[in-house]
Symmetry: C2
Subunit: 368 residues, 2 copies
């Protein structure tokens, strides 16, 4: 076993999920994530946690959804009970084919997703963490050799999280104090304003102790409201197994009123049609992980890349919201990324330029 697999398991269990003796942990193992599963089982045994291991198979999901009539029962009792009684849920992603559910009708995926909103709320209430075991399929999706991709993944995961957390605290402070964010990309059809009044930004260094649930992470995110304007997402991405490039969203009165994409426009439309909340913003995220230095068509990595900003339509994270406020609700949460490193690009908070051409105010080379 590559020694980095065990290191990955240690970071996941100790730093990210903060698992303690006696915790009831659900370990979800992807089809290609067996090896990481073994390392995580070993680590959880050493900690003295209790495990239930679930199997997240795209081929089983595809077969089930294809055969089902689409009228899904709401929040099956056994599934709900499993997560309601769990302290932590560790999602070990790792596909053998990243397009393994490509031919499932999107409306079926959406219907299934809508029917299990309570299940999702239950696991989102735990110390859940989503991570990825590098497989050949993910390497292929990234256009990389297998060994090259493993290096990329472990560089991003086995990093000095505490030190990155300190750096990200600066941006969090600025967002917490601010009330409006504006994204501008001159000559690129992007000018969007949104309110972040009374929102709390999450400094996300891949640990539940910071309300940060992805490994790797390296972003600061919040839950914006009332977006107005247009945004062009020039980073290509994969939505429900389908490639989407050059997506554009137009917001009026806080909702998407127009959308387009060079490729995958239908996939984008399907997402927006999931439910009412799918047409509103759930997240503004600012990538700050400079260890992630290229796009790999995987949101877990792409959205954390330094010099990018992402917006998600759909569900907002509770951690960003004031006490008692529900924020945007939706069965979906789909991130879209825009590159902020081009000339004439800026991120403003209350009119002050915080990032210009991909360089933050406090970084060397910033031009005020």
């Amino acid at each position: 076993m590559d020694p980095r697999v065990r290191e990955h398991a240690e970071v996941l269990v100790d730093w990210s999920a903060r698992v303690e003796p006696g915790d009831d942990v659900v370990v979800s193992v992807g089809e290609g994530a067996h090896e990481l599963g073994v390392a995580v089982a070993e680590k959880l045994g050493a900690v003295g946690a209790n495990t239930v291991t679930t199997y997240a198979s795209e081929e089983m999901t595809r077969a089930y959804l294809h055969a089902h009539d689409g009228d899904f029962d709401e929040d099956p009792a056994h599934q709900l009970a499993l997560y309601e009684n769990a302290d932590a849920v560790l999602f070990l992603g790792g596909d053998r084919n990243t397009t393994g559910t490509a031919d499932v009708p999107p409306e079926k995926t959406q219907a299934s997703s809508r029917a299990t909103e309570g299940v999702r709320e239950a696991y989102l209430s735990t110390d859940w963490v989503k991570t990825l075991h590098p497989t050949r399929a993910h390497a292929q999706q990234a256009g990389m050799a297998y060994g090259e991709y493993r290096d990329f993944v472990y560089d991003a995961i086995l990093t000095d999280w505490a030190s990155l957390a300190d750096e990200m605290a600066r941006l969090k402070e600025r967002l917490d104090d601010g009330s409006e964010v504006r994204l501008v990309k001159e000559g690129d059809d992007t000018d969007l304003t949104m309110s972040i009044e009374n929102r709390t930004a999450v400094n996300s260094p891949a640990s539940v102790a910071y309300d940060s649930h992805n490994l790797p992470s390296g972003e600061v995110f919040t839950a914006p409201e009332e977006p107005e304007g247009t945004v062009h997402f020039d980073v290509p991405m994969t939505i429900q197994s389908r490639r989407v490039t050059d997506a554009r969203l137009v917001f009026e009165g806080g909702e998407v009123v127009d959308h387009s994409a060079e490729t995958g426009e239908e996939a984008l439309g399907d997402v927006l049609d999931t439910d009412e909340g799918a047409r509103r913003l759930g997240e503004l995220g600012i990538g700050m992980n400079r260890d992630i230095d290229r796009f790999t068509y995987n949101m877990l990595f792409d959205e954390k890349m330094g010099g990018t900003v992402h917006l998600a339509v759909g569900r907002a994270y509770g951690a960003c919201l004031p006490e008692g406020e529900e924020g945007n609700r939706s069965a979906t949460h789909v991130d879209l990324i825009t590159d902020m490193t081009g000339a004439g690009t800026r991120l403003e908070v209350d009119g002050e330029v915080v990032q210009r051409d991909g360089v933050f105010r406090w970084e060397e080379g910033f031009e005020g």
Copy 2:
């Protein structure tokens, strides 16, 4: 996909587990059982059942147990809740290495088993079924070629269960009316009597509708008491990944007072030391499946073979017991088999010979 995989899934879901629309089903998938998992997911989707898929990995189990200090928490809440809220549990066995947990200290396996007795009771209260996807590892354990083994497994599974049920009903009737069973193998150190007073035998044609939870099945079993005498188990078997041959048990006052084995005596001793109930009988089973025509070192098949009888130490099945009686309780249930086809061999109920030299009373060639 071999068309027999889908047929297997259909028999499992329709005949064996009797899954109905809206049922909450746990599907447990072994490391090598993925293909059957896909077929079962498809079938459950078509039925309209709700699924949680768990992953039964020997390598994860081994890693967890090795690392754990052995002081296991009792019945973890999330695991218990999952099974308490399930209508059915489908165990799709299928190892990639049938000795995958061979180096785990038996006392750790036992301690883990003892700690989860409530979990076990919870799933035993569901419409659970245990079956096997034929893997290369199981073929190797059986000493068979892969294609040969697949034929063997599907012959045993894709049989006419309704017709076998009719045949087995005769033996069930005889056992239900009887009060004492005696096993005798002349010249082979076997003469054992046991009480079956007030017991109800289970006619086990691989369907929960008959309280029969193995696919394949093909046995009639009951829960005997007060065994007295000696029995020699001349069929080799695998107990907790260890080979055991020529086991002998001596019963006095209903309990094992002496035991031996040609090989694997320690494994046998470990089982008997699990708890108090592990020294008492939990089951007398009579194999009646003539489609299973050879030993494959797998109890799921071996104990059903026509012309064999098996006894289990440990837990008794509730279905055999009179209302309100608990029967033998134990964290373990380990079956041991003896060949009843040799000359001078007989199975008696209340002094009447029911089977002689492997031939039942009602079969051609029976010598009364």
